[in-house]
């Protein structure tokens, strides 16, 4: 995606904040807003939005996922311009899996196809659309980075978050062993196969703790809740943050690191 001519850069975007950020981590949404507004981009939040339908789809309940996904299309079709979303998983749902969810429904498939051309994962939007690899952020944090599965393997978004992080002044990135291996979240999997999920989580957390980093950065709120929930239960001090919080000069994280 080369938007070479600067005058063609979008000046207004629509935020799909995702149901998890909306309910559990609103600060992540605010960080996305801060970062975009700091670049003069107006952020519109379509107020009727809820969820893309992924939880039910992943559990096999397509009859329940379909109307929710169709509603997502309704809400965002009423907007114009790019849709930005701080979750690789939810973007993958729209881009890769609506095709299966709406199989046999040509008009919905067509709508999903057109909408998927407008939706961007947050770091993808910053790097590929805005052409920014350095957000001029200063911090003072020792951190490590977990590559979330859907971002990495469904969307193949990897260089974008990596280059944004590499350009943060004062961020020491410690290498994480098996950083491409799943943390065991997997939505309903974490509940239905709790013991298998926990075994995967413990391998991940052992590797995280071994880095000695104070902060774990990731790009998807589901995985963040999972890893933070596990670290808390184990009594570890490591905090888990969304990459948007690290890249937002105004976030609590960056304010705290400077004080």
């Amino acid at each position: 995606m080369d938007n070479g001519n600067a005058s063609e850069l979008p000046t207004r975007v629509n935020l799909f904040v995702t149901c998890l950020v909306d309910q559990f981590a609103p600060n992540v949404g605010m960080s996305v807003v801060n970062i975009l507004e700091a670049r003069g981009i107006e952020v519109h939040f379509p107020p009727d939005q809820t969820c893309c339908g992924q939880p039910a789809f992943n559990s096999g309940f397509r009859n329940d996922a379909r109307p929710v996904a169709a509603r997502f299309l309704d809400v965002f079709e009423a907007t114009e311009g790019p849709i930005v979303c701080p979750s690789g998983s939810c973007v993958a749902m729209v881009r890769n899996f609506y095709e299966d969810l709406f199989r046999g429904q040509p008009s919905e498939l067509d709508r999903a196809q057109r909408l998927s051309e407008r939706i961007y994962e947050f770091t993808e939007f910053i790097v590929d659309v805005l052409g920014i690899e350095d957000l001029n952020i200063e911090t003072n944090i020792d951190a490590t980075y977990h590559r979330c599965c859907h971002l990495l393997r469904e969307l193949h978004i990897d260089e974008q978050p990596t280059s944004l992080l590499e350009n943060v002044d004062g961020l020491t990135l410690k290498p994480l062993e098996r950083n491409e291996v799943c943390c065991g979240f997997g939505g309903a999997f974490s509940v239905k196969m709790s013991d298998v999920s926990t075994a995967m989580l413990n391998e991940k957390l052992d590797n995280v703790v071994a880095t000695g980093a104070s902060t774990l950065i990731a790009g998807d709120t589901g995985c963040i809740m999972h890893m933070q929930g596990g670290l808390r239960r184990r009594g570890e001090e490591v905090q888990v943050v969304h990459i948007a919080e690290l890249l937002d000069a105004e976030s609590d994280l960056n304010r705290a690191s400077k004080s």
Binding site: D22, N58, R153, C182, F189, K192, D195
Partner: protein, 479 residues
């Protein structure tokens, strides 16, 4: 082989607490997985080779009748016999018939997953025939009375000490210690059996339609011995394991071997072109090819699952799978473990009992990335979840409980309106307020109670993002 896919959860729980198994699983990642990555990395145009592999398999499966017919014609032209078996029972009956007709007393086997599907060993043994596996790993699991743990490394779960015990007991000789001595011991034991076997049963990594050849990939040479020493050779294959031409075979071997063991080429690649011809010095007098369906037509008919027939059984998906590496091969309860097994086993043995297998995935996509023929395994796991949850028109065939169905109905209600979404969030906030500690909960109720067995769960935020953003904008505009 009897399916115990239904017991996935209890079997998985046992494996998770077995320290020795967990150590063995590490070999899968540190050995096979890393070897594959290194072999792929050292191969120019690896992605193009995967694309070619996928194209060859897509084409073959789309024209399966045509190529099976061509294969059968050419095998017969080479002097072999072809038998299309409906299922395992049918295939077993055919092979029993050959054994009976020829007074066979000893059968040797070279690795064949299809014969595991058939449960062939037990059937022949019940007829009083001695059956001996000759792949070292298969031999070890046979001596232990177990099923293969992994499709290319059947005994990866066994320690050296366990192998030493098994071989000492079987040979009634001194217990040996080193890997080298143990291999030599097994070799001596097997050599004797090779010499007196009347009939061999092998698998087929590929069959080549245009030449009527069967291809075996091995590292121990047992495939070559098994296909040349006994008087009768029976090869058993799934009906999807063929390629049109020798050129296609070459392309498939490159990706199969690199993906399986990380080798550029295996120690042996054996091509069998039927029985010994009148001017040839060795080879079997009789050759039979058993081509088995055993439910594969169900995959073929279902467009959303057909891609599973592209599988070339390299094991890369299980080596890359973080779930396989925790639960191990036996938890899956049938012949094929891991991600591809989670598709193939339920379809071949029964969706309702096998419903736990497609659920046993975090959908991380590592299998899709690893597959040499680019099978989109996560997509098919989702498809099977849908079929088992509510897709099957017959409610008796559905694996979902009423509670789960009601939960998703309620979820749907909540997500169909922003005001209900906000209300749900408020209820959650109020209900959890007395229980939370710095924003986290130690215990949550069903249906998500499994989470807090090992992890804290976040309490809903004081305000949804929607509210927070609206209030901020109001304040900003008011200034």
């Amino acid at each position: 082989m009897k399916s115990t896919t239904k017991e996935f959860r209890s079997a998985a729980s046992r494996a998770l607490t077995d320290v020795r198994l967990q150590q063995a699983h590490e070999v899968v990642y540190n050995g096979f997985h890393k070897a594959r990555l290194s072999a792929a990395g050292d191969t120019d145009d690896w992605e193009a080779q995967r694309t070619l592999g996928k194209a060859i398999k897509d084409h073959t499966i789309a024209n399966l009748d045509y190529y099976l017919d061509m294969l059968a014609t050419n095998v017969e032209k080479n002097g072999g016999n072809v038998y299309f078996a409906r299922d395992g029972e049918d295939a077993n009956a055919y092979i029993r018939g050959i054994a009976a007709k020829n007074d066979v007393s000893t059968v040797i086997k070279s690795k064949s997953m299809v014969s595991e599907e058939m449960g062939l060993n037990h059937v022949l043994e019940a007829d009083g025939i001695e059956v001996v596996e000759t792949d070292l790993g298969e031999y070890i699991v046979q001596l232990a009375g177990e099923a293969p743990y992994h499709i290319i490394a059947p005994a990866i779960h066994k320690t050296k000490a366990q192998v030493a015990d098994l071989l000492a007991e079987e040979s009634r000789s001194e217990r040996r210690e080193t890997a080298e001595d143990l291999t030599r011991q097994a070799r001596e034991m097997l050599r004797e059996v090779f010499q007196r076997a009347d009939l061999s049963v092998t698998g087929a990594n590929f069959a080549v339609a245009e030449t009527g050849s069967i291809v075996l990939v091995t590292n121990e040479g047992n495939g070559r011995m098994a296909t040349s020493m006994p008087r009768i050779h029976v090869a058993a294959m799934g009906m999807e394991k063929l390629v049109p031409s020798a050129a296609d075979l070459s392309a498939m071997l490159r990706i199969l071997i690199r993906s399986a063991t990380g080798q550029r080429i295996s120690a042996y690649v054996t091509m069998v072109n039927g029985p010994r011809a009148h001017d040839e010095e060795d080879g079997p007098e009789e050759f039979h090819l058993v081509i088995m369906n055993n439910g594969r037509d169900r995959l073929l008919r279902d467009e959303s699952l057909r891609e599973a027939l592209n599988c070339i059984r390299c094991g890369a998906c299980m080596n890359s799978c973080p779930v396989y590496r925790k639960v191990g091969g036996h938890s899956y309860g049938w012949v094929y473990p891991g991600p591809i097994g989670s598709i193939v086993s339920p379809v071949l043995t029964g969706l309702k009992d096998g419903a736990k297998l497609p659920a046993a995935s975090s959908l991380c996509g590592a299998c899709h990335e690893a597959c040499p023929v680019k099978i989109n395994i996560p997509r098919m796991l989702l498809e099977l979840r849908s079929q088992t949850a509510q897709g099957d028109p017959d409610p008796q065939q559905r694996a979902s409980g009423i509670g789960e169905r009601m939960t998703w109905k309620a979820w749907r209600q909540g997500m169909m309106s922003r005001s209900r979404f906000e209300a749900g969030s408020s209820v959650g906030k109020i209900a959890t307020a007395p229980l939370k500690r710095d924003g986290w909960l130690r215990k949550v109720p069903p249906p998500i109670s499994g989470w807090t067995e090992s992890r804290d769960f976040p309490a809903p935020a004081a305000k949804t993002f929607g509210k927070m953003f609206a209030e901020r904008n109001k304040a900003k505009n008011g200034q």
